[in-house]
Amino acid sequence: MLMNLAAVVFGLVLYAVVVGALGFFVTSTLFLALLFTAFGVPVRWMAVLAVIVPIVLHYMFYTGLRVPLPWGVLEGMAW
């Protein structure tokens, strides 16, 4: 299970490094996809959740709590 441990640490490091450039949505989706794969979540669940969860969190923190989450590559469609 050392692989899973490595996946979590690697995922977090990667997140911190690329979130500024890629933005919240892209990074979070990649992050969830990586961990869901490592933990063996079925693919169709993974595809749905990796997209929906960042949207919910973004709504909570960006719209609700006004945290300036970075947009990164999606700067053009920022709201």
Partner: protein, 501 residues
Amino acid sequence: VTDFVAAIWLVLDPYVLGVVLASACFGLFVGSIPGLSATMAVALLVPVTFFMPPLPAVATMVTATAMAIFAGDVPGALLRIPGTPASAAYCDEAHAMTRKGQVEMVLGAGLVFSVIGGLFGTIVLMTAAPLLADAALAFSSFEYFWLVLLGLTCAVFISPGRPVKGLVSLCLGLLFSTIGFENPAAYPRFTFGSTALMSGLQLIPVMIGMFAVSEVLRFAASADKPLEPVVQQIGRVFKGQGALLRRYPMATLRGSVLGTLVGALPGAGADIAAWMSYGLSKRFSKTPEKFGTGHPEGIVEAGAANNAALAGAWIPALVFGIPGDSITAIVIGVLYLKGLNPGPTIFIENTVTIYAVFLVFLLANLLLIPLGWGLIKIAKNVLHVPRNVLMPVILLFAVVGAFAINNSVFDVGVMLAFGLLGYVMEANGFPIAPTILGLVLGGMLEQHFVTSMIKSDGQMMAFVERPVAGVLGAVTTFIWLTPLAMRLMTRLRGGVRGGAA
């Protein structure tokens, strides 16, 4: 009395009530999932409460913890896996009762005696804290220096396992607390030229790392087995609870008192209270041989103890700013952020808010009756939530939370570093609570020491000249010397025996 009425109106605000209800559901969910603890619930709530007014912010934490500690009993009974560490003490006993077909009885007892313990602890908090605060108004930096030192001492010696490991853990926390330039001389220490470290480690990313990320790491490192609850149908849970209370009134009282006391001691919280209570219950029981075979007595006592400990931990936290457990260590950070600086004057300057917090405590424990009943009814479904989906989502939430406090990616790194540290420490039997206490109290300890030294013009004797300071100093010294003295005694005795042979 007018303050009290004002406090009631504060609590009856629909926004506050809504927040209480939402955090109650959150607490029940987190508590009932094995691997997610009550402390983790609070750590995850901090980023959200960051943007709330003081009362609802504190109310979320009070409610979520009260709910989570009870909810931890549910998977203990159904799966033989404690939902939170506070239920670990009587998990085998609870599961044994379930196997005997008494699942309603054990879950009902967990619920009813959690509420009783929680209410008892709250009432002690409401009466003891203001009295203690009155006495503490006369305290100077000398008394505070010893109080903090005594708190740190308790954290080392009460922690499970060997005191040496607790001491290492404490020193680690004290070391981390020195980072930055916020010390009496304003000299930057251990910053390694990093501007992000100049203002010291941010408490909240550290807490999220230590209590949320480390749990996810532990989950990742262990082989994941899907959870399979054994029971299909759960009937009437409140049936027979009155009889249980009439049969074990002493156990209920003992558990509540011990829980409150252990909670109030720094560094020991609900989990240690439950272990001590369960042990005590077995020792005082008329039928100790029944323990472990599915006997409700220990569950009654320890179930009351772990909920009583929650409120007990708030006593030193509010009066002295010294956290009674890991949860209040986080709460103190939030109190400072909200301008509710803990200390004896909090009862004078923020009377209404503090009364309102007490009322939330009462409300949360009463709300536990219907909501806890609801959780028991749907427990089977809750326990089916796949943890391999849940854990990555929690991790993402933790990342966003750590980021949100200062909008800084550096804090995400801090979170990861302390997550790894927490995981490695737990895996090797080092308690985490002393590190957290050292980190929270290190600055305070240094400040009171330096202030005292300046006031006394460098005279060390001034630390023991005032009566209260003298007593606190003597107690602290005594606790540190006892293990050494005991070791010396056994060695001397061994030496004599060796000489005789």
